[in-house]
Subunit: 224 residues, 2 copies
DNA sequence: TTTCGTATACCTAGTGGTGGGTATCTGCTG
DNA sequence: CAGCAGATACCCACCACTAGGTATACGAAA
């Protein structure tokens, strides 16, 4: 694996492979700079472009091709999930790796269902990223150790307790913005009763007993 | 500034300066790896050690010296603020730059008061970090553009609205644990009325109007 | 010492969230 | 088509939180 001789020596007889092109998406420029630099030393991969928002990434995809996209989950404008879904329709053959700081099993599951090929954490090392890149180009999936542990652990639970509907998420977001039920009703053009019902259902689903639990849930699930 | 000739050419007659040693602290290994790699190309700086927690960083400081510490604000075990304060007593001459993803004016102010020399955001570029490093070794302070804008904007506001008393923080923490006022009263052996008064004062100080705002404040100030 | 901040405590009204229901309409899926 | 999930809507009782007050005691700072 660590045989980079042909790379270090330009006169090597080995045939250099064509480098896999990567689109790197993260709103933290400093991480972008860092990872790009790290990968520039790799014989197998090359960061062709970078983007600091989902929108920017999509625009790049419309006029360029990439073998792999490595993207943050927390993004401005589009969420990681929205970006993944959009990317899948623009470049169906591109491999996708999510590089996130959060180890939330629900998010990981949703992303895997959406078709990503790898999920690694920002606390992982550079080596982990390179391993993941190798795995996905070989048509295999890659999960960072912590994430696979998490999924295994979760498998025990009877499961699927949680998922909020889109409307419920919408309500929850507004609740988190300090709107009262009445205000939410006005914003969404629905009855205050309906909002109350949604809130009750959200409380039941999340297992929270009051506003505080709701907000904590919203934070934990990156809804804020 | 970009004259790196002595660096690129080892036979240059210019006298190489001694590189400033950096301690880099961040729980995201991949950022650590990336920044270290980027700085390895700099003629002026060198990442001597890295740490992924405040504790680890402090231990390193006890047996080593560093010219500059660059640290995340969100850290496991110790918060950035605690690390800064502890670092100041261990290595009083070391420069400290905070590299955070959050642009919360209250946090920035508190850190500046605690004696940091620079504050930059993860969304800033590698170049910004290098600029900051140069500034602080020249005994000057450095704030990323967004942060200084923020502080200027804040200067208009009359007050020091923010700081909660220790009792208020205690109450807030319990509120955030989903305890009702009555339960908090029982836990702290005080009257429910007193709890209510504290809550009111906290609301006033934080500018929140309800529980939601309170919890968001608690999150933003790492009280949870 | 006087003032200030902090913590303590109480009152009243009013607003809003919680928890228990029930019920209709829509669209999807087996 | 029947069944189910989701979004909509309403009712009522209860209780928790919010927003005005006022007031006392203590220790630190000016």
């Amino acid at each position: 694996m660590s045989d980079k001789s042909w790379f270090k020596n330009p006169f090597s007889r080995a045939t250099p492979m064509i480098k896999r092109s990567i689109l790197l998406v993260d709103d933290h420029r400093i991480l972008l700079d860092g990872v790009k630099n790290l990968l520039s030393e790799s014989p197998d991969f090359e960061v062709k472009d970078t983007a600091t928002s989902g929108k920017e990434a999509l625009q790049l995809m419309k006029s360029n091709e990439y073998d792999i996209m490595v993207t943050d989950y927390e993004l401005p404008e589009l969420t990681g999930l929205e970006l993944i879904r959009a990317a899948k329709s623009v470049l169906p053959d591109m491999k996708m790796i999510v590089l996130s700081m959060h180890d939330d099993p629900a998010v990981v599951k949703e992303l895997l269902r959406a078709g990503i090929h790898g999920y690694i954490l920002k606390k992982d090392t550079h080596k982990t990223l390179v391993d993941a890149l190798h795995k996905v180009v070989a048509n295999r999936r890659f999960l960072s150790d912590e994430i696979s542990d998490l999924l295994i652990q979760m498998a025990d639970e009877p499961e699927e307790k949680g998922v909020l509907t889109t409307r419920e998420v919408e309500i929850l977001r507004l609740v988190a913005k300090e709107y009262s039920s009445r205000q939410i009703a006005e914003i969404l053009f629905i009855s205050e009763r309906t909002v109350e019902t949604h809130r009750k259902n959200i409380l039941k689903k999340t297992g929270a007993t009051n506003l505080v639990g709701l907000i904590k849930y919203a934070y934990a699930n990156n809804l804020i």
